[in-house]
Symmetry: C2
């Protein structure tokens, strides 16, 4: 069982319109709606690979009910979300049929009360003994302390559970001090954390801040990993056009999948890159077709060096 | 008791963003959410004036539940919506904090089944004996026959209940054949119905198509009415900037309010114009502050002539 934490879950709504024009009225031609938030997306990809996953975090209000209803439709997924009095946020992605561009509108999350945050920490601690890895993903809703991830990482380490952190901004800056086993920033998050736009230097710098390993996702260039065992670059089979939304979450799923199967770093990176590519090729952002993924695995190149034994 | 019919109810969501840029991501700074659809908006204004109102139409799914929950918060309003298996649509209005412009995204609306449409007609017919007027408002959801309003108007006439129709497109073209007592088009709907962009001619033409009276709303210029008793133009006290969304629904509420109190046409038009102006001045589109409305009444000018007795 893998545990993913999504403190700021979302109901992700996608609207297709013929062409988005500011200040105009639009009839939406197609509406899709599904559970979201980074940890939920990671869980969906993990279940597509056959892993059992528990999702926790917060859910509340009418959108929280819809979110939980929809989670019941995902096989292998256990819902351990903690109810809150506020309302789970929506995100609206408006896809322009002419340009193909996507305009995003993200609601703020619900304000989390002290008692709700305490209730979550208790649920989280109760889940840890039965999980083989935990991923802490995404933004913090209002009311959750900015150092939340550092605390959750320490609790997991005390329980002997390996951890992965994927967040941004202050939550990332403060979270890395909690010494995640794997930190998974993208290029922008890495630059924001370290002040360096040079990926190799920034990845090493991020690791010095407390992470056991840093795996930076660099878009179409693949992954750059600095780990206790060595350094690698992993690249997809070919450059391809695709929808980058969800590719980062798919990469996290790949790292976790190989981690819980005790695979070496080269395999972890190969899975992460192939899943990212499969997610980018999917017609639904972030979904992964398992056969597409398996077809991509053989074409991933991993170059680098293990540390001297 | 006044009855308003909203076959395509909606949950109206308003997002405020600092500045809307296509293809960018936006954090929504403020979210408001309320029951909508034209007949629901008309009902809200009527209750603000102290009228008891029943709303009927369709509601379903998670958004339908939220809509009905929120209707319970409106005093003097009775919910007689008919449940459907589809999901009530959302509308999203994105207000740009810099330009003040509004970008609208309207979901299509649930498909209505044959049995659901029959169930509605039965509920509607059952409500008519206890109401003093009925307003049929807004678009038709998929599955409702395009001639729906003509049939509903005939049923109301058979029950001796005065009617008002406010819709557009094919629903308007076909609906006017049902001979509403009052037809309330705006300038665009009037031109679409009659082919004439000259309001006075188009209003008379629309009346010849079957309406007892036609009250055309011409934005900041006020109303133009052609009725069995005579013709009038009614104008607001002064030109003012304001939010036109909801002003048409407020005008409908004014016409109904005076109709059920058996007021002459000049009074009906005065109320309609003052309510439109109050709605346009409201910080929340379409809401009416009763004291603002009452303050505007004295400044409305009505010019025209009654027919020779």
């Amino acid at each position: 069982m893998i545990l993913t934490v999504t403190l700021n879950t979302a109901l992700d709504i996608t609207y297709r319109v013929p062409s988005l024009r500011p200040d105009a009225s639009h009839r939406v031609s197609e509406v899709t709606e599904r559970p979201g938030g980074k940890g939920v997306n990671v869980a969906r990809v993990l279940t597509a690979l056959g892993h059992e996953v528990t999702v926790t975090g917060f859910a509340g209000g009418a959108t929280g009910r819809v979110l939980r209803d929809r989670l019941t439709e995902i096989p292998l997924l256990t819902d351990a979300l903690v109810p809150v009095s506020g309302t789970t946020r929506r995100t609206v992605a408006v896809v322009d049929g002419r340009s193909g561009g996507t305009t995003r509108l993200d609601e703020p999350g619900p304000a989390i009360g002290h008692a709700e945050w305490s209730a979550f920490q208790e649920v989280y601690e109760g889940l840890l003994p039965s999980v083989s890895a935990v991923a802490l993903c995404g933004s913090l809703p209002p009311g959750v302390p900015v150092g939340a991830y550092a605390g959750l990482l320490r609790t997991a380490r005390a329980a002997g559970v390996p951890t992965l952190l994927d967040t941004s901004g202050a939550a990332l800056r403060r979270g890395v001090a909690g010494r995640p086993d794997i930190l998974k920033p993208n290029a922008g998050e890495l630059a924001e954390l370290t002040g360096s736009h040079e990926p190799s230097r920034a990845t090493q710098d991020a690791r010095r801040r407390g992470a056991g390993a840093v795996v930076a996702s660099l878009g179409a260039q693949g992954l750059l990993a600095v780990t206790p065992e060595g350094r690698w670059r992993a690249a997809p089979p070919e450059r391809f056009a695709g929808n980058p939304a969800g590719a980062g979450d798919a990469a996290v799923a790949g790292l976790l999948s190989a981690l819980v199967e005790h695979r070496p770093w080269a395999d972890r990176l190969t899975r992460a890159v192939a899943l990212s590519a499969a997610a980018a090729l999917s017609p639904v952002a972030g979904d992964v077709d398992r056969s597409v993924y398996e077809g991509l695995l053989a074409g991933v190149t991993v170059r680098g060096e293990a540390n001297a034994a």
